[in-house]
């Protein structure tokens, strides 16, 4: 399909035409930003860089009911099907993160909750033009205009958005939008490509990730783990707000006679994440937990699924209260190798 253009003054029409209730868009909330349904009051903000809370929260919410039941009875009822969604304005790194996590959630057996949401979603990405200081997508296989995991890639051309249609799902959106979208020509694509290249040039941080996956486990007893984890507070900021972190806990919650079994985000940086009932903890201190986090992202996940479970969004660096910097850890790893 041809590339299309959405004039900025038509964004409102576009949202209305496709059905506002379908959209999940980046929004600035109280003190943070996240993807949320478009409603009367909230406004899509496509100028936001990466949202504080990554869009994984749409597909894999922090709290998700697996099934409901009444205490004392045996019937279980899973929540109903989700409706179709359009995720508009997702950054390429976050989209890549989802296609990374897909590998795990569709690993046998398939996770039905995650999968059904993924199937129902059309991903309209927005190419980055102003990467932030701690963005390093280009080091881990991505880029400010990476198309992986996207159905449409939008590029801000100033007075309009260029829609580069990548999949059938994307095509469907364009067809539905009808004449709200206008045809684009080659010059638009050239302009977009230039913007994409310029953006890639603006990325200042990075690491050569080659060799790391194979060699990381060799540093098991290295001193660096103690050193980098000393300041760690053991909080979940890095993992909860990481777009590829996917660990969860399953809990039964009961109110009166109504109960549910739900899953909630969990973090490998928490003490009780691996704590056995006997009191034994295979990862007793922050050193082991930090080591596991880095190893999982840069080695174990690669062994299992062939990709690094880090997309270089820089959230963990930006949000760490004590400046634990994954790039700094990796460069120490490189030195030690």
């Amino acid at each position: 399909m041809d590339n299309m253009k959405l004039p900025k003054e038509k964004v409102g029409d576009f949202l209305a035409k496709l059905g506002k209730e379908k959209f999940r868009v980046p929004q600035q909330m109280e003190g943070s930003s996240k993807f949320a349904p478009l409603n009367g009051e909230s406004n899509a903000d496509f100028t936001l860089s990466n949202t504080t809370v990554p869009p994984k929260s749409i597909f894999y919410p922090q709290t998700e009911t697996l099934y409901r039941y009444n205490v004392g009875e045996t019937a279980m009822e899973a929540p109903g099907e989700v409706d179709e969604m359009i995720i508009m304005g997702i950054r390429p790194c976050d989209a890549r993160a989802l296609s990374t996590v897909d590998k795990l959630f569709t690993w046998d057996p398939v996770d039905p909750y995650y999968k059904s949401r993924r199937d129902k979603a059309t991903m309209v990405g927005l190419a980055c033009q102003e990467p932030r200081t701690n963005c390093f997508c280009t080091s881990v296989g991505g880029g400010p205009a990476s198309t992986e995991g996207l159905d449409i890639l939008m590029t801000d051309l100033g007075d309009s958005y260029l829609f580069q249609v990548l999949t059938e799902k994307g095509e469907k959106i364009c067809q539905e939008a009808g004449d709200i979208l206008v045809k684009s020509d080659d010059s638009d694509v050239q302009a977009a490509e230039k913007l994409h290249n310029d953006a890639a040039q603006k990325i200042v941080r990075g690491i050569d990730s080659q060799d790391i996956p194979e060699k990381l486990p060799q540093l098991w007893e290295s001193e660096i783990w103690k050193k980098v984890s000393d300041p760690c507070l053991g909080c979940g900021a890095c993992t909860f707000l990481c777009p590829t972190c996917h660990c969860f806990d399953i809990q039964d919650e009961v109110e009166g006679l109504e109960g549910r079994r739900c899953r909630v985000w969990d973090s490998c940086m928490f003490k009780e994440y691996t704590l056995h009932t006997s009191g034994h903890n295979p990862r007793p201190s922050r050193r082991e937990r930090t080591r596991n986090r880095i190893n999982h992202k840069y080695s174990y996940f690669v062994d299992k699924f062939g990709v690094i479970a880090c997309v270089g969004c820089g959230r963990c660096i930006n949000l760490c209260p004590v400046n634990i910097d994954i790039l700094n850890i990796l460069s120490q790893v490189k030195e030690a190798l």
């Binding site: 909330m29 109280e30 003190g31 943070s32 996240k34 504080t52 809370v53 922090q62 709290t63 200081t133 701690n134 200042v204 941080r205 050193k227 000393d230 300041p231 507070l233 053991g234 909080c235 979940g236 900021a237 993992t239 909860f240 707000l241 806990d249 809990q251 919650e253 739900c262 909630v264 985000w265 973090s267 928490f270 003490k271 009780e272 007793p284 201190s285 922050r286 660096i317 949000l319 209260p321 004590v322 400046n323 634990i324 910097d325 790039l327 700094n328």
Partner: protein, 328 residues
């Protein structure tokens, strides 16, 4: 004035002592205005130590954060001291930990750093967007001077200092084994709890809608809990499952219960270092909640935590004539 040379010399001496396990100070972070806690076991590592308006971290939290791992059979427990650099507010945390017997006096060496206030990173980054370049800073007579590679930029302290520092009444360590340089003048700062009063003046409905929005955005990463030097229970109620005090699901009910429990557990213990609010990734004004209780504690019980090593914890003591006009 902060004397870096003195600081490094003392740190080297301290960390060379046989009875010192390690020393905790600050060093320049990996980019921009960031600063990271610096753990030192060897004297030469002390050269990286800094003390500047960027050193917000309250290092007292590491006294209680360190895991007590089982001692392998045949080995003896390491009882060496931990040396710690503290600002005025940080020292209050140490004092309160001592008051509560969370730590032992003989297990810490306190190196006091009289402080002229640390910056609020958000305020700084609004003025100077953070780049990769590591920027140092220093105090200079009512101004904060940022040292960029292409020159220095001075900003009036009021514009970039953290709110807690603008109303600071304890710039000098309350307790220290060594004071690294002369005390700074306490200045005329007073604390009228304007932020708290502002909220108090509203109706309950308005207050709830304010907090409802705040608590809803919480992701329960527990940074606020973990960074807090006073949150050091080995078995936190938030982690417990049997009984489950607060469910793990994220919704307004559990989030409110979490925030109220956390705030209440700090009643009469919060030393107002503001770390919880600083570390919150979704910028919940946690101190506005904590300060309500500090205000009440000060007004109703004339108690200020972390100021007197000889005092008793507020909630572990009472006076028969404590006011009780709310009781039916």
């Amino acid at each position: 004035m902060a004397d870096l040379e003195k600081l490094i010399t003392v740190a080297k001496e301290t960390v060379s002592r046989d009875d010192v396990k390690y020393l905790i100070g600050w060093r320049q972070g990996t980019y921009g205005f960031r600063v990271s806690p610096h753990f030192i076991t060897e004297p030469e590592e002390a050269d990286k130590l800094i003390f500047s308006p960027l050193c917000s971290n309250n290092l007292a939290t590491y006294l209680t954060l360190v895991e007590k791992l089982p001692v392998p059979r045949g080995q003896e427990a390491d009882t060496r001291k931990i040396a710690l650099m503290v600002k005025g507010c940080d020292s209050r945390a140490v004092v309160q930990q001592l008051v509560e017997q969370g730590i032992k006096r003989e297990s810490v060496i306190i190196l006091g750093c009289p402080c002229q206030g640390v910056v609020d990173l958000a305020k700084v980054e609004e003025k100077f967007p953070a780049g990769l370049e590591q920027v140092a800073a220093r105090w200079d007579d009512g101004k904060i001077v940022f040292q960029f590679s292409d020159g220095e930029k001075a900003v009036p302290r009021e514009e970039v200092l953290a709110d807690k520092c603008l109303r600071c009444r304890y710039p000098n360590p309350v307790l220290a084994d060594t004071l690294l340089w002369e005390e700074v003048e306490a200045g005329s700062s007073s604390d009228e709890y304007a932020d708290v009063s502002e909220l108090e003046a509203k109706t309950p409905e308005e207050r709830w809608s304010f907090w409802e929005a705040q608590f809803s955005s919480c992701v329960r990463c527990y940074s606020c809990r973990n960074v807090c030097p006073m949150c050091y229970c080995e078995d936190c109620i938030l982690d417990r499952l049997n009984p489950t005090w607060v469910n793990r699901s994220n919704n307004i009910s559990e989030n409110t219960a979490f925030h109220l429990s956390r705030a209440f557990h700090l009643a009469g213990r919060c030393i107002e270092c503001g770390e919880c609010e600083r570390v919150c990734p979704v910028n919940i004004p946690i101190m506005t909640l904590n300060r309500k209780l500090t205000k009440e504690v000060r007004e109703k019980f004339a108690y200020e935590p972390g100021t007197d090593p000889a005092s008793k914890p507020l909630q572990a003591s009472y006076r028969p004539n404590d006011q009780e006009n709310f009781i039916l």
